[in-house]
Symmetry: C2
Subunit: 179 residues, 2 copies
Amino acid sequence: MIENNDTSAQDSCDENPAFNNRHNHQDCISSALDKAQALCRTRNSRLTPVRKRVLELIWQSHKPLGAYQILSQLAADGFNSAPPTVYRALDFLLEHGLLHRIASLNAFIGCNNPNHNHHGYFLICRSCGSAQEIEAGNLSTYLRKNASAAGFVIESETVELSGLCPLCLEQQGHSQSDK
Amino acid sequence: MIENNDTSAQDSCDENPAFNNRHNHQDCISSALDKAQALCRTRNSRLTPVRKRVLELIWQSHKPLGAYQILSQLAADGFNSAPPTVYRALDFLLEHGLLHRIASLNAFIGCNNPNHNHHGYFLICRSCGSAQEIEAGNLSTYLRKNASAAGFVIESETVELSGLCPLCLEQQGHSQSDK
DNA sequence: TCATTGGTGTAATGTTATAACAGAACCGGC
DNA sequence: GCCGGTTCTGTTATAACATTACACCAATGA
Ligand SMILES: [Zn+2]
Ligand SMILES: [Zn+2]
Ligand SMILES: [Zn+2]
Ligand SMILES: [Zn+2]
């Protein structure tokens, strides 16, 4: 199942992990936690148990997770679980660039490039719920240039594109041919 | 590049009304209501008093309005005012393209191009709260092309850019020079 | 007329997020 | 070690946003 035969990928999460069900997802999780650990050390910030657990829960799939879903998992773990607990952890992780908030879903997803100060955008599958962050690059430049033509200065970008991922498209194709 | 060369704007609302405090805003409102009226007639839909009033309230400024703000205004008008009332009206207006929902603000703003089936994006001033819809044009094409390279098919786009509008930038400049 | 449809009234509830304040844990200086 | 400031957590309550479910009514068209 999770075999990766003919790709020389060492880091299986660098490609398009969310829409590739053959990648080794344990690597995604542990790599994200390692990065977070390192980043917090260099910044003299504390990745406390709650914060770490929240980050881990969010990374346990590539589907954006709602605050109250996280909350109930924390409760199952025996952590304290009242809304402020999880929102404080989320705020911390957001501030450090370890997460992004998906406004159109009221949900949160891990960022696997927390060091680089970037503007990403998201492809979100409406069928399976997976989301994939894409580096904005030109897009951001383009938007800023256009905005400045109107005298507007962009400070933050929310670009969330909903549709069907490759995996769900394939499945839909199958079910259509069944008709 | 998004260039819009046909700047034969007679209608004072076609330019950049949200960020132009000198435009005749009554024209914005009445033109929006007229368009809605006409559009509903051709579609055999009913622009009932509540629906019309909600649309009017939303158009009374260029700032996205929350559902409960609308609700309290309806109450002041003597309309029934429970959440379903306003959400039903909003759903109707959204379906007919007369409004857009701003996910990052949980708020609603009028669309002044309800006939044309389009993908707009928004410039939202974090200081004064005004928002301006920009026709997407090439942006949409670009996003879809990039997504399809990842095997993803976009169905809907949420592009909300937050920052400072020209008017607020100018004010900020003044207050800075006061230092 | 009567059934159908679409719109509204109303109560209750669900979901997402924050305020406010008390207490505990951590950390640097002594 | 102990102290004092800061940061983190616990707890209660509430704010803000949105939906469900069901009853009623009014327009439409056999
Ligand atoms: Zn993964
Ligand atoms: Zn999918
Ligand atoms: Zn106007
Ligand atoms: Zn402004």
